[in-house]
Amino acid sequence: MAQTTSPATEATAPGEGVGADGIDGPDGTGKGGRTPSDSASGGETDVVGLGKWRASAFVAPALILVSIFLVFPALWTIYIGITNYRLTGIAARAPEFVGFDNYVRAVGDADFLNSLYLTLIFVLFSAVIGQNVLGFGLAWRLQNVQGWVRGLVQSLVLLAWILPSSIVAFLWIALLDRDSGTLNALLGTPGLAWLIEYPMVSIIVFNIWRGTAFSMLLYSAALASVPPSQLETATLVGASRWQTLRDIVFPHVRGHVLTNTLLISLWTFNDFTPFLITAGGPNDRTEILPVYIYNTAISGGQMGYGAAVSLIMLLINLIIALFYIRLLRERK
C-alpha cells in the first residue's frame, strides 16, 4: 500500500516535517495532506507510517499495565502454589518449595471437594437452569408486550444487575432477616431464618435474581433476529406457540443459548458475592469455591494452598469453556 502512494507523496510534499501538521495546516487542501508522513520512516510498511518503534511506544503503556496487574499476579499464583507460603509465621518469611503437595492435599481434602460440589450445584441451578430459563422466558414473553411495560420490566431486571454487590447483599440480608425481614413479613412466617434454614436455596435464588438481566438482554437480541416472515409462516400453517418455539425460534437461537450458558456458567462459577450474604456459612453449607479460597488463603492464611486451589479452579473453568466451545462448533 505504501508503495503505491509514495510516488504521489514525493511529488506533492515539500518536506518531511509537515507530516503531523499537514491535516490542520492552512495548505491541507486534501491533495497531499494525508500522505506525507508515509515516506518519513523510509522502509516501514505500516499504513499510518509510524514505524516499529513509535508504534510500540503507543502500545507499551497498556502492555506494562497488563503485565503488572494480570500477567505477574498469575505467574506469582502459580509460583506460590508450589510453596508452603503463609500470611504469617515462619513460612511467610521464608516459604519453602513443596512441589505438588498442595495439589495432592486439595484432591484429598473433604472441605475442598465439598466446596466443588456446592459450586457445581450453585452453577447448575442458579445459572444453567435459573438465569437461562428465566432470562429466556422474560425475553420471549416481553416480545409482544406494550412499550412501557417492557421498558419497566427490563429496567427493574437490569437494576438488579447493575447495582453494586455490597448494596444488593445488604438488601438481601434485610429481605431475609429472621426478626424483621421483608420476606417473613410478606409470607407471615415470623422468626424463620432463611439464611440458616435454607442457605443454598437462598443464594441460588439470589443469584438468579441478580444475573437474569444478562440472559434476558442476550435472548431479546437473539429473538429479534428471527425473521418475522418465518414466524408468520408458522402462524399461517397453524403452528401453536409451543410448536413455533420448538421448530422455528429455538433452532435460530441455539447458538446464543450455548454462548449465554457458557458466559453465565463461568461468571457464576467465579462469583464471590454470596460471601457477602452468608460468608460461606452456616457450617460451610454455602462455601462455594471462591469463598473457600478466600476463607483458606486470606482468613486462614494458607496462601500457598489457596493459590493451588485457585489454579485448579482456573483449570475447571477452562474445561467448562472448552466443553461449550466444542458444542458450539458441532452445531455449525
Binding site: 425473521p227 416472515s229 409462516t233 400453517v237 397453524g238 421448530d247
Partner: protein, 365 residues
C-alpha cells in the same frame, strides 16, 4: 370453490392511520388477482388482513362460504409466499415443504409423499435434501411455492413474490407463476408495486391508493381506460401524458393551441371547463408537417426504448411524450405535430381527477 369477498373492510392502526379504508371487493374463484399500488397504499396490509396476520378493524373477510374474519390464520385454509420466501434455514427442502403438513398432523409417509410430489411439480427433484442456503434465489422461490402447494389451500397469497429475483429471472418467473396458477386453478391474490408485473400476470387487478381502490379491472381496462388521473399516471411503462386544458366550445385549448375535442365526451363538458387531457405516448402519432387539430411542438429529447423511441416535444410550457417506431425519430429541434389515435383520448375533470363522464359525487380523494 373459493371466492374471496371483502366487505367494508377497514384496518386502522393506532394514531388513526387508515391502512385499509372501507374496502369492498370480490375475487371470483380461480382468478389471478393483483393488488397494485405505490408503497404505503395499503396493499400489503390488505393481503395480510386476508391472511389473518392483521386483524380487521371492521368489515368482514369471506373465503368460499365461510366468514373467516375472526378465524386465526391457521384455520383459513390459505397459503402465503413471502417476499423473502421465509424458508426455515435449519430444515432441508423436503422438511420445509412438509412442515405445514406435519403441523396439520399428517402421517410421516403421507406428508413425505405429498412433499415429494409438490417438489417434482416444481422441478425440485434432486434438491430435496439440501438446505435453503445451498439453493439459488429462483430455487428458493420454488421451494416456497412447493410448500404452499403441498397444503392444497383454497387461496394463495403472494407478497411481492418476484422482487427478490434478478431482472432476467423475474421475467421467467412471471411466465412460470402464471402457468402454475392456471394449472392449479387456485384463487390467487398477489401484491406488487410493479405495474408491468401486474399487467403481465394478473387476470384482474385493483389499483390502490391510501387504503382505497381507485380502479378494478383487467389489464386492458386499466391500461386503456384508467378512470382517474392517479391510475392513468401509475399504469404504463412510459407515463401517460396528462395535459392541462380548458374547453373552448367544441374544441380544447391546450397550451394556447386549438385541439380537437373527442365527440363522445362533448356532452359531458361545458364551455370554459378546466380539464386534463390524458393520452398515452403509444396512442399518439407524430408528423413533421402541419396537421389540422394536432398539437404543435418542438422535439426536445429522444430516448431509445429498443424497438421504439420515446420522443418528448415541448409546446409552450407543456411536455408531450410520443412513442415512434424504431428509425422514424424526428431530429431534435424540429417542429412536429402530434395527433391522437381516435378513441384513445381521455378527458378528466381538473378538480377531482375523475373522467368527465363519471358521476360527480364520486367522493374519492
Amino acid at each position: 370453490m373459493a371466492q374471496i369477498d371483502l366487505v367494508n373492510l377497514s384496518k386502522v392502526y393506532p394514531g388513526d392511520v387508515r391502512a385499509v379504508d372501507d374496502l369492498t371487493l370480490t375475487i371470483p374463484d380461480g382468478e389471478f388477482f393483483a393488488l397494485l399500488g405505490p408503497s404505503g397504499c395499503g396493499k400489503t396490509t390488505l393481503l395480510r388482513t386476508i391472511a389473518g396476520l392483521e386483524e380487521a378493524t371492521s368489515g368482514s373477510v369471506r373465503i368460499g362460504d365461510r366468514d373467516v374474519t375472526r378465524l386465526p390464520p391457521g384455520k383459513r385454509e390459505l397459503a402465503m409466499v413471502f417476499q423473502d420466501y421465509a424458508l426455515f434455514p435449519h430444515m432441508t427442502v423436503v422438511d420445509n415443504i412438509s412442515y405445514p403438513l406435519k403441523i396439520k398432523g399428517l402421517a410421516k409417509e403421507d406428508r413425505l409423499d405429498r412433499a415429494v410430489k409438490a417438489g417434482d411439480e416444481l422441478s425440485l427433484d434432486g434438491l430435496m435434501e439440501r438446505r435453503p442456503s445451498e439453493l439459488s434465489g429462483g430455487q428458493q422461490q420454488r421451494v416456497a411455492l412447493a410448500r404452499a402447494i403441498a397444503t392444497h389451500p383454497q387461496v394463495f397469497l403472494f407478497d411481492e413474490p418476484l422482487s427478490n429475483l434478478d431482472a432476467r429471472l423475474r421475467l421467467e418467473a412471471r411466465t412460470f407463476l402464471k402457468r402454475l396458477q392456471r394449472d392449479l386453478g387456485v384463487t390467487t391474490v398477489f401484491v406488487t408495486h410493479d405495474q408491468a408485473e401486474a399487467l403481465a400476470m394478473a387476470d384482474r387487478m385493483a389499483v390502490m391508493q391510501s387504503g382505497r381502490i381507485r380502479q378494478v379491472g383487467t389489464a386492458r381496462e386499466v391500461f386503456q381506460h384508467p378512470v382517474n388521473t392517479f391510475v392513468a399516471n401509475f399504469i404504463g411503462s412510459t407515463p401517460m401524458n396528462l395535459l392541462d386544458a380548458s374547453v373552448r366550445g367544441d374544441a380544447l385549448d391546450v397550451a394556447g393551441q386549438r385541439v380537437d375535442l373527442p365527440e363522445d365526451v362533448r356532452r359531458h363538458v361545458t364551455d370554459g371547463q378546466e380539464v386534463v387531457v390524458g393520452v398515452r405516448p403509444e396512442y399518439l402519432t407524430v408528423s413533421s408537417s402541419a396537421v389540422d387539430g394536432g398539437l404543435q411542438g418542438v422535439v426536445a429529447i429522444v430516448e431509445n426504448l429498443g424497438t421504439a423511441a420515446l420522443v418528448t416535444l415541448e409546446a409552450d410550457d407543456l411536455s408531450v411524450a410520443v412513442t415512434v417506431p424504431d428509425g422514424e425519430e424526428p431530429p431534435i429541434g424540429a417542429d412536429a405535430w402530434v395527433t391522437p389515435v381516435p378513441g384513445r383520448v381521455l378527458i378528466y375533470r381538473r378538480e377531482d381527477g375523475e373522467l368527465v363522464d363519471a358521476p360527480v359525487a364520486a367522493a374519492v380523494g
